[in-house]
């Protein structure tokens, strides 16, 4: 399965969910096919997408938060999976695209190309609903289940390692933040 293909399936399933993306490929491809005010693209802080997603999920209990992450990013912040499992927000879904590589820097292998198993790690962290899928039909079913889930869900989607699709993100970080805050009606108190 190609990641862009999976993202198109996901885009067809979303309504007003809040989406936090990791950096690099997943952010660019999601911005390319599904740019929307309720997207927040992390641009540099690798590994923190799931943490930001947890904070959002705790702050917005009436809305569903989806984190689009990658294997390299998740491997940088494995403790976050444990924190998320213990907080257990019922409105948080982690979708982790595992291409077993650091694709944006030239496809160096990540630990999941070796012995690491992100689904087992998620289960071990205590996340209750974990699915590992590798084809579009199963991905679609797993996403539907995650979106309907009343607990924290994780979908590990095995995807091909390939160069990033789509153009660079052009929205500035400042504009991205304010567009996001306006979309959900938040005033952080700043100027």
């Amino acid at each position: 399965m190609r990641r862009i293909e999976a993202l198109r399936i996901l885009a067809g399933k979303l309504a007003d969910e809040l989406v936090v993306t990791s950096l690099a490929g997943v952010a660019r491809e999601w911005a390319w096919i599904a740019d929307r005010p309720r997207n927040f693209y992390l641009r540099h802080s690798m590994g923190l997408a799931s943490s930001v997603g947890l904070g959002l999920a705790l702050a917005r209990p009436g809305e569903r938060v989806i984190v689009l992450d990658g294997d390299g990013s998740v491997l940088m912040n494995l403790g976050s999976l444990c924190t998320i499992a213990n907080c257990a927000p019922p409105n948080l879904a982690l979708i982790i695209f595992d291409n077993q590589a650091y694709a944006s820097t030239g496809l160096q292998p990540s630990a999941t190309a070796g012995r690491a198993d992100l689904a087992a790690i998620c289960r071990g962290a205590g996340i209750g609903e974990v699915a590992a899928v590798g084809d579009p039909a199963r991905f679609q079913a797993a996403v539907e289940a995650a979106l309907a889930c009343r607990g924290t869900a994780a979908v590990i989607a095995r995807v091909a390692a390939e160069p990033v699709q789509g153009p660079k993100i052009t929205i500035s970080t400042w504009e991205n933040k304010h567009r996001f805050l306006r979309a959900i009606g938040v005033d952080t108190g700043g100027d």
């Binding site: 930001v52 947890l54 904070g55 999920a57 705790l58 702050a59 912040n77 924190t83 009606g185």
Partner: protein
């Protein structure tokens, strides 16, 4: 989580022989912790993300016992910054309660998440290695703490007196909000000693 328990040691807590500040009589928070809790309430803080340190145990307990703020226990301090930043984006008023070693571990999160997007955040940081530190092992982090905050361009205040505590929390929250920035209060040994 199999084999885990809420009381298990968390990475980032300080090892070593230094005595933890004792909780007050009958579990009451120490006066400095009470004063900071008062400031947090006046500042409207409603969510605290923490990785424990011996020096701030009394404050963590005070927040937990008070019950008016949501308390999230993170595994690592840059993760705590990420959680708090996400909560602020969702409309909460969040503070991070950590040791200064964890502040140094959070530099990228502070620069490239909090700083890049301009997210107001209150950092309450135990200032290990500052004046009065008895443990040699904390000195390297102590020496680097203020230079790193300056390099990040973050407003900060070294809190040494209990009578300053409540207002300092409010002032730091105000500058964080008006400046779309993280702002730090360094909780120094004198504060704990004078408690």
């Amino acid at each position: 989580m199999s084999g885990g328990s809420p009381s298990a040691p968390v990475p980032g807590s300080a090892p070593g022989p230094a005595p933890a500040p004792a909780p007050g009589p009958a579990g009451r928070p120490l006066p400095w912790a009470d004063a900071i809790l008062d400031g947090l309430k006046r500042a409207g803080i409603d969510l605290i993300v923490t990785v424990p340190d011996m020096k701030i145990v009394s404050l963590i307990r005070a927040v937990a016992a008070d019950g008016s703020m949501e308390l999230v226990r993170a595994a690592r301090e840059d993760e705590a910054v990420g959680i708090a930043a996400g909560a602020v984006l969702g409309g909460r008023r969040a503070a991070v309660l950590i040791q200064n070693a964890g502040l140094l571990a959070s530099v990228n999160a502070l620069a490239c998440l909090d700083g890049l997007f301009g997210i107001p955040l209150l950092l309450l940081v135990s200032y290990r290695g500052d004046m009065g530190e008895r443990e040699r092992s904390h000195r390297p982090v102590g020496k680097a703490t203020e230079p790193v905050l300056k390099a990040l361009g973050l407003p900060y205040f070294v809190l040494r007196k209990v009578e300053d505590a409540s207002d300092a929390v409010v002032d730091a929250a105000v500058v964080a909000g008006s400046g779309d920035t993280a702002a730090a209060l360094l909780l120094s040994n004198a504060l704990f000693r004078n408690a």
